[in-house]
């Protein structure tokens, strides 16, 4: 094969692609990295909607006063934890460096950041899902639909230690199952794109 001939043929090859008159006219979205970034933003927005929903639940589902106080306190904790995660997610999205594709190291750093983020999110989701169980239980047991006797019994843990342990184990199991589900969702959301980026990097070696 004569590569000089190939080069000449490539130089002479007809085409209908033209440089646009303005960069702003260009539509750009076909990058694995951009797809990942877009999905991260969707993830942040979905989390935000979920938290807003939880904040407004007491307005729909009336609770006893004692339950309302507990709910507010535990929700405050959950919201503070969630906002810390949200800030970290926003910092990650802003600093992903998609604008700099001048070296393959930029792609490698991107992969490392996303993989580290997913790993952190899985541990975070375990803690977060366990923490969010408490206000969710308060919504159920503190509802005015239940008599105040049951509300106080359940909210102030007036039942045997064995049952309390059972509830705690249940919460941990729930958090663990949610983490597994999250792992599956993350794999579906980012797995294909991350896999293709990793495959490209492996081709350099």
């Amino acid at each position: 094969m004569n590569f000089d001939d190939i080069k000449k043929a490539m130089d002479d090859e007809p085409n209908d692609l033209n440089i646009p008159l303005s960069v702003k006219d260009i539509k750009s979205s076909h990058s694995a990295m951009k797809k990942i970034r877009k999905r991260l933003i969707i993830e942040i927005l979905m989390g935000l909607v979920f938290i807003i929903y939880l904040i407004f639940i007491p307005m729909v589902n009336k609770m006893h006063d004692s339950a309302q106080v507990l709910y507010n306190l535990t929700m405050f904790n959950v919201i503070v934890i969630y906002f810390a995660w949200l800030l970290a997610a926003i910092r990650l999205v802003k600093g992903l460096g998609i604008s700099d594709l001048t070296s393959r190291q930029a792609i490698e750093i991107f992969i490392i950041k996303i993989k580290a983020w997913i790993e952190i999110c899985l541990y975070f989701s375990f803690g977060f899902m366990a923490a969010i169980c408490v206000p969710v239980l308060i919504i159920n047991f503190g509802s005015v639909r239940l008599s105040r006797y049951y509300t106080d019994k359940y909210l102030y843990l007036n039942f045997p230690l064995s049952q309390i342990i059972l509830v705690l184990v249940g919460i941990l199991m729930f958090a663990f199952l949610c983490t597994l589900l999250n792992k599956y969702i993350y794999n579906k959301m980012y797995g294909k794109q991350l896999g293709s980026l990793e495959k490209i990097i492996s081709q350099f070696n």
């Binding site: 190939i6 080069k7 043929a9 002479d12 960069v23 604008s99 792609i107």
Partner: protein, 165 residues
Amino acid sequence: MTETEFLDKLEQHKGILLKVSRIYCDHPEDRKDLFQEIICQLWRSLKTFKHKSAFSTWMYRVAINTALVFHKNDKKRPDNQVLSDQDARAKAPYDDKHERQLKQFYGAVKYLNEVEKALILLYIEGLSGDEIAETLGISANNVRVKTNRTKAKLQNIIEAQNNEL
């Protein structure tokens, strides 16, 4: 550099964009998308161009990295090759021998991986080992070994295709 100056520079080096788009994408629509994606990326990365290397070398680096992470719409186009060939026939008023060679070359390049495509393109373009190494972020030694392997692989693919015919 202003937008107009940037676009003028691109016009001067348009061949780089066309060749990178052509070698990475078979389908004309994918090619157009990649062409635009590279221009966008070059514009965004412009602040990283420090005039230490030639504009064209920097362009190759950004264009190839953009092509590496470019996501093709394969699912929507099962008949990629057919469309590509029709497109090539529709506008091929140039030398038959060159056309045949080029068709053969593109047919074989499809079987190379993304990094091998970059290597062979930069080799054909006449970049030195050091320039290829700088563009791809690998050692010059690695470039030499990989280029030889890729050329041999390409040759084998073309021979296999000729034997099939």
